[in-house]
């Protein structure tokens, strides 16, 4: 295992941020920690790279006890922080040079690494202008470039694409996939279900500082919900008329007027809805990780009677 957490807890004052968490990140995978804001994702990552010390439990990274080998572990991993940290008056190249020295890189290797990460993240056209003039997307690329300066075996990313536009997100995902393809292990947090589903080989769903379930996105969906989801706008009375005792949804989720039914076959329900009122808003889609997430952490989801 690249990362191994055993009954790790972190308590800040009276608040339990992480609660007896077990986590195994195997090598060569993209592993996602999925959870709402405040679930303990960032605290967990900070404990993995050793700036937050666990209140209880043990942490091993690269098979090394983190407490005893902090510098050695950190020299082999890279971290993309949630908030970009740059010297804004300096250029990307100058920022990379300063950061490379934190890893004690020297010339000519330092310049070689800078060229390498600039090429990998396609920062060449913006490499010589002050960072504060870069767009959000280029700043995020630079943040990732910084975390790659030491050619990390483990890349830790705290919400790598939050706040970015779709095109930039796609571009960054492709870079992350390529890193994994070259053998790096990626451990990321996100609250974007699409990011987790498209990018991660395995996800751990975290809520209130605990892992609620863990597995490949497809397996998690299959394990918890029927494969087809139908969303319909209707009142509770209309809902029972629609189901009419003959259609059995495995589970359903109501948020306001909108109900989502999870079914192994959506066709009968769709037919029924169309027949009753062909203008009623209706969405038929495959069940996704977001549904699983709500099923595991939400309170409004209930098993159908």
């Amino acid at each position: 295992m690249i990362v191994r957490l055993r009954s790790v807890s972190k308590i800040f004052g009276s608040r339990i941020a992480v609660n007896a968490l077990d986590l195994d990140v195997p090598p060569g995978l993209c592993f996602g920690i999925l959870g709402p804001n405040g679930a303990g994702k960032t605290t967990t990552l900070r404990m993995v790279y050793g700036v937050t010390r666990p209140t209880a439990g043990s942490i091993e990274v690269f098979g090394l006890d983190l407490k005893k080998h902090l510098r050695a572990v950190r020299s082999r991993l890279g971290v993309t922080l949630q908030q970009n940290v740059f010297i804004e008056a300096l250029t990307p190249i100058e920022n990379l040079r300063v950061f490379g020295r934190y890893h004690l890189l020297r010339e000519p290797e330092l310049s070689r690494r800078i060229d390498e990460v600039i090429e990998f993240l396609e920062l060449g056209s913006h490499a010589n202008m002050p960072v504060r003039q870069l767009s959000g997307g280029f700043q995020r690329r630079l943040a990732i470039a910084l975390s790659l300066m030491n050619r990390p075996e483990l890349l830790i990313m705290d919400e790598p694409t939050t706040g970015l536009d779709p095109a930039v997100r796609l571009a960054l995902w492709s870079r992350i996939r390529e890193l994994r393809a070259h053998g790096a292990t990626v451990l990321l947090t996100t609250h974007y279900m699409d990011e987790a589903q498209r990018l991660c080989d395995r996800v751990a769903i975290v809520s209130d500082g605990r892992v609620v379930d863990e597995g490949a996105p497809g397996d998690l969906i299959a394990a918890h919900l029927a494969p087809e989801a139908v969303e319909v706008d209707c009142t509770p009375e209309e809902e029972s008329a629609l189901l009419d005792g003959t259609i059995r949804a495995a589970r359903r989720l109501r948020v306001g007027r909108r109900v989502t039914f999870y079914l192994s076959d959506a066709a009968p329900l769709v037919e029924r809805v169309r027949a009753a009122d062909h203008r009623r808003p209706l969405v038929v889609r495959p069940t996704n990780l977001e549904d699983v997430f709500l099923a595991l952490t939400g309170t409004s989801l209930e098993a159908a009677a």
């Binding site: 902090l70 510098r71 020299s75 991993l77 010297i87 300096l90 934190y102 910084l146």
Partner: protein, 255 residues
């Protein structure tokens, strides 16, 4: 916790890289400030004073002002600049994703504050020497004092900066601490000659007084046992505050 000098130097180089961008703008005021003090206080006020401490007033004033410049150089660095790096820029959060540890951050920042003290004090010394106020080569003994003055005020400022909850409190540090030190630490008049006998110890408590007394002796080319006490004060106070800052730095950077 542990200290690694190469990593501390990497922290130092970050600050140096930032400073290199603006040093031409920063260094000009460094030269003007002493000129203004020497003209106003030294020549202006000094015209009404025959001598002080047994020397012409300008000669009395000059070495002390060199120390004040070193104090200011270090102080700017460990107050506003450190606070911004800590709170707004989050520079240390990025450093701590690499093999750098809090002790390296502390050492690098103290080293950089000492460097700034050397730059500030060094500029002032050049002006003083150019004005013919520094006995050469004996007056060069003031130069090793500049990093010591920097170290003392770097550690004092760090302890303050690491403990305050918001940036506005620095105005207290400057107006209620550094300014009184500047006015009462033997810079403009020999404090001990104005204090009643049983208040003499007050003078010995003031941190700026010790570098100033050492600087003046260096310019006079005299050595006396009290200099050992001044040196001991500077090193001992710096060491104690450094240990204190070390604990606070670790507390602020890790959790």
């Amino acid at each position: 916790m542990s200290l690694s000098l190469p990593h501390a130097l990497a922290v130092w180089r970050r600050d140096a890289a930032m400073y290199r961008r603006t040093w031409k703008l920063n260094i000009l005021p460094n030269f003007f400030e002493p000129v203004f003090y020497l003209l106003s206080i030294g020549l202006g006020v000094g015209a009404y004073i025959n001598e002080m401490g047994g020397t012409p007033y300008l000669v009395f004033l000059a070495p002390a002002l060199v120390c004040v410049a070193a104090m200011n150089g270090a102080s700017y660095e460990v107050t506003y600049n450190i606070y911004v790096r800590l709170t707004f820029e989050k520079a240390y959060d990025a450093m701590l994703t690499t093999p750098i540890e809090p002790d390296d951050v502390l050492a690098g920042e103290v080293l950089w504050a000492v460097t700034r003290a050397l730059i500030y004090g060094g500029c002032f010394f050049i002006v003083v020497a150019a004005a013919g106020l520094a006995p050469l080569p004996g007056g060069l003994w003031i130069l090793p004092l500049l990093p010591l003055t920097g170290l003392l005020f770097a550690t004092i400022g760090l302890v303050f900066s690491l403990r305050i909850p918001n940036i506005d409190l620095f105005s207290f540090y400057y107006t209620l601490f550094l300014t009184p030190l500047f006015l009462f630490s033997d810079v403009f008049f020999p404090l001990r000659e104005r204090l009643p006998a049983h208040w003499l110890w007050v003078a010995e408590v003031l941190p700026l007084l010790h570098p100033v007394r050492l600087a003046r002796r260096a310019f006079q080319g005299e050595f006396s046992p009290v200099m050992l006490w001044d040196l001991t004060y500077i090193l001992a106070v710096s060491a104690v505050l450094l240990l204190w800052a070390r604990r606070d730095m670790d507390r602020r950077l890790t959790s």
